[in-house]
């Protein structure tokens, strides 16, 4: 059952007047996709960039949004994970091929192995996230304040306890979950916006990465000159400069 945060409360209320009755009903359905609960969707909200969560349930969204924002917080340098829609990136990756074990060798037998041998659990990323988030939810059930309403310091302390591997999350060492969460946050922050994170290329603007832009032949030997240019997403590269050279066969 979703709890309404201050942030999602504001957006929900703002949207409520135009929400169809059917959508409102789903708000009270336990285990329903989170989007219905936290931000009953409207065309307006979709346009505003509020994620439509397909993988995380409502409870999971509350934890994931809060945790991602602590991993990459908004500050004077610019938006953090929430502003960059990183939780949306996680949702789409975990709900898609990657979450289902794309590029993961999945045959047993299974054993923990040494740190040098890398990831050795039978879980797909999707299974791992649901398993760990369920265990975290149980672990925090006794605390007075839900994770997403904790102070930033207390949130950080809990995340650090996950990072140090202090928890057994239904068989998953919490450090493995934390590392995957952190890696995916970095991916969602810096990957091309076509994947649902790095909204408006905020992360690229912050560091000065020009994105998919391709030609620095004239610029490269202007040493030390600051390169100021709007970044370019894959989605914007309308030129798609396909090479059509008559003397090079296009295909065979």
């Amino acid at each position: 059952m979703a709890k309404v945060t201050r942030r999602s409360f504001v957006t929900t209320v703002g949207a409520a007047s135009v929400v169809p009755a059917a959508a409102l009903l789903t708000v009270t359905t336990p285990g329903a996709p989170a989007e219905a609960a936290t931000a009953a969707k409207t065309p307006n909200e979709a346009a505003s960039g509020k994620p439509v969560y397909l993988f995380f349930n409502a409870d999971e969204v509350l934890f994931i949004e809060a945790a991602c924002e602590r991993l990459i917080p908004a500050d004077e340098s610019g938006p953090g994970a929430l502003g960059a829609a990183v939780p949306n990136y996680l949702d789409k990756q975990l709900g898609g091929a990657w979450g289902a074990g794309e590029r993961l060798y999945r045959s047993g037998p299974w054993q923990a192995g040494t740190p040098s041998q890398g990831y050795q659990l039978p879980f797909t990323p999707g299974e791992l996230f649901h398993t760990c988030l369920r265990a975290i939810s149980r672990d925090l059930a006794g605390s007075k304040t839900p994770f997403h309403e904790m102070s930033a310091d207390n949130q950080d302390a809990y995340l650090k306890s996950l990072e140090s591997g202090a928890h057994d999350l239904d068989g998953v060492p919490s450090a493995i979950f934390f590392d995957m969460l952190r890696q995916m946050c970095v991916e969602g922050f810096f990957s091309d916006p076509v994947y649902g994170g790095n909204r408006d290329m905020v992360a690229w603007r912050m560091i000065g990465f020009p994105g998919a832009y391709a030609d620095y032949f004239e610029a490269i030997d202007h040493h030390g000159v600051k390169f100021v240019r709007e970044p370019m997403s894959l989605a914007e590269d309308g030129k798609g400069h396909i090479h059509t050279r008559q003397d090079i066969p296009a295909n065979l």
Binding site: I72, S107, G113, P249
Partner: protein
């Protein structure tokens, strides 16, 4: 039911760089050649085009161009006493798949090894005495010399159009080039690429310390070039998407841009993609190959008879093919007997990060995969190792290959892993950091080897390759020594903070290092310590040739591709001029 196909002269397993070159030469000489490639067909157009190709998540992080490890991974352990487990995700090294092979996603760094490297055991004994090497090291000579290979290096560089500056032409030292290089017969086919800012800073600092900086030889070309096969390449525009990507610009020398169209136009050649070779078939004597058995993309099994089999897959896959086929005695580290899988080696990579103030704009995203500036003063045996307790070395270079931010966001040591401190450090340092690559040699050691895994299997039911590897102490010492020298260069550049990261053990498959997996099917003069002779012909089955970085008895201080190209042409020369005229052993055992 196995379908038996019509016999051909030559079957080539793996249509990457080696397979393409061998097939092209033999088809042109009139032989019927079939190329079996497990991956898919792909070309610069349409497969490698933008915008899709500039996708860091898909290619860098999700490894879209790599061998399908859900069907065919390797297993790994550091020590023989441990249980090897599957590498469930590629990270440390990235074998490619598909037409053109791993070279399609390379960075284009194109070196020659030095004369010393090919006679490493002999030269080390001569210079430092008999007992200088650690007892566990199994360093040996190659059975070929630099002089044997020089014309073939030259031919390969001219095929690629490699951009560089000679340092030594026929013994005459050339200003601006690498004075440590072994003599070359002529200069590179094209001049060096433009120098990146980080390279210019490195050049100045290294010179001030008395070292000898030179431009990295690059097969991302500095200018348009037509190679001897008639293939036309463009100039690289420094887009910063080389390694793990294909080049959209016809500027990176890969099979598709330098030779494949010529090969495919020859009616003597037939390409079959989606074909997973299961084994090289032997007759009842086990001394003669009859062809190969493969399973095609839809699961049908075929036998392809052939008079000559060329195993030209990625290094470690060649070794696995020999083991699966029962060619050569598998190596046993307990007794030191056997040869297949012996002397597996790698590359000992270290790095140095130099952090500058925020008014120094490095622009790391303006990059070619090989437009660095380097020194070889601490590579190979270019410095006196007396009293140092190790052999080998590393090139040190400001090799700015990219600024792709999921992977590249350097932060100083002590930076938190996440949170505000991490984010601020990333923003502060992204455009103001110079990274040095320290590309170190890898000594062969008794305990490091490849064999077949007793437990885990591939999607076709065959045993996976098992890798047992950790860094020899020799290489850990080397990394520490060279990193200290590189830190001095970082300081001489005027960096505010310089952080050295010498390679330390244990070796882990969780962190990318290089895809320079060498050995396991090494070449040499003695069948007791090598799998193939000096012409890369199997000692045991003379109508099988194995060509790959698996032939290296140990790995040198440079990227292996240039040497592999030279060995390929060297072997072709022997095939065309010796073997095919009179099939049989080219060297008596």
């Amino acid at each position: 039911m196995v379908q038996r196909l019509k016999e051909v002269d030559v079957v080539v397993i793996g249509v990457g760089m080696v397979g393409s070159i061998v097939a092209k030469e033999l088809a042109a000489a009139g032989y019927k050649v079939v190329g079996l490639e497990r991956g898919q067909t792909r070309f610069t157009v349409p497969e490698f085009q933008s915008p899709a190709i500039h996708d860091e998540l898909r290619f860098d992080i999700r490894k879209a161009m790599m061998q399908d490890n859900t069907r065919e991974p390797v297993t790994f352990r550091n020590l023989g006493s441990q249980v090897a487990l599957p590498v469930r995700r590629w990270e440390s090294f990235l074998p490619g798949t598909g037409l053109g092979g791993s070279m399609v996603h390379w960075n284009g760094q194109t070196y020659r090894f030095q004369a010393n490297d090919f006679q490493l055991a002999t030269r080390t004994r001569e210079r430092y005495g008999k007992n200088f090497l650690d007892a566990d090291l199994t360093i040996q000579d190659w059975g070929v010399t630099y002089d044997d290979l020089e014309p073939h290096y030259d031919r390969f560089e001219y095929l690629l159009g490699t951009s560089g500056k000679a340092g030594n032409i026929k013994g005459q030292i050339q200003p601006g080039g690498d004075p440590h290089e072994s003599p070359r017969s002529r200069d590179y086919p094209t001049p060096p690429q433009k120098e990146h800012y980080s390279g210019a800073m490195f050049r100045k600092a290294a010179s001030s310390l008395g070292y000898h900086p030179f431009p990295q030889p690059s097969s991302n070309l500095s200018q348009p070039y037509t190679n001897p096969e008639g293939m036309k390449l463009n100039a690289c525009v420094f887009c910063g998407f080389c390694e793990r990507y294909a080049c959209e610009h016809y500027a990176k020398s890969v099979p598709q841009t330098v030779i494949l169209p010529v090969l495919l136009a020859n009616p003597n050649f037939e390409l079959r993609t989606g074909c997973q070779v299961q084994r090289i078939n032997l007759d009842s004597t086990k001394k003669h190959a009859t062809g190969v058995t493969y399973i095609d993309a839809v699961g049908r099994e075929f036998e392809q008879p052939a008079s000559l089999v060329i195993s030209s897959m990625f290094s470690i896959n060649n070794v696995r093919m020999l083991l699966l086929s029962g060619i050569g005695a598998p190596y046993d580290p307990a007794t030191g007997q056997g040869v297949v899988g012996r002397n597996y080696a790698y590359q000992t990579m270290s790095s140095v990060a130099s952090f500058f103030d925020d008014d120094v704009h490095i622009n790391p995203f303006m990059a070619s995969g090989a437009s660095g500036t380097l020194i070889n003063d601490f590579a190979g045996d270019n410095f006196d190792h007396s009293g140092l307790g190790f052999i080998g070395g590393a090139f040190i270079g400001a090799v700015n290959t990219n600024g792709r931010p999921i992977q590249y966001h350097p932060v100083p040591p002590g930076t938190p892993n996440w949170g505000k401190g991490w984010k601020q450090a990333v923003v502060k340092h992204y455009n103001h950091t110079v990274m040095f690559s320290l590309h170190g040699s890898s000594a062969a050691q008794r305990q490091n080897y490849l064999d077949l895994d007793p437990t885990y299997r591939d999607a076709w039911g065959q045993p996976l390759l098992r890798m047992t590897f950790d860094f020899p102490q020799n290489d850990i010492k080397m990394a520490a020594h060279v990193t200290a020298k590189a830190v001095e260069i970082g300081k001489a550049m005027g960096a505010k903070q310089v952080a050295g990261s010498p390679r330390k053990g244990p070796y882990t498959v969780t962190q990318y290092q290089t895809t320079h997996n060498t050995g396991g099917s090494v070449m040499g003069d003695n069948p007791k310590t090598s799998v193939v002779n000096r012409y890369l012909q199997s000692w045991d089955v003379p109508n099988v040739f194995v060509i790959g970085a698996c032939n290296y008895p140990q790995n040198a201080s440079w990227n292996p591709t240039g040497t592999l190209g030279a060995l390929t042409y060297w072997a072709i020369d022997a095939l065309k001029n010796k073997y095919l005229k009179n099939p049989g052993r080219l060297v008596s055992a």
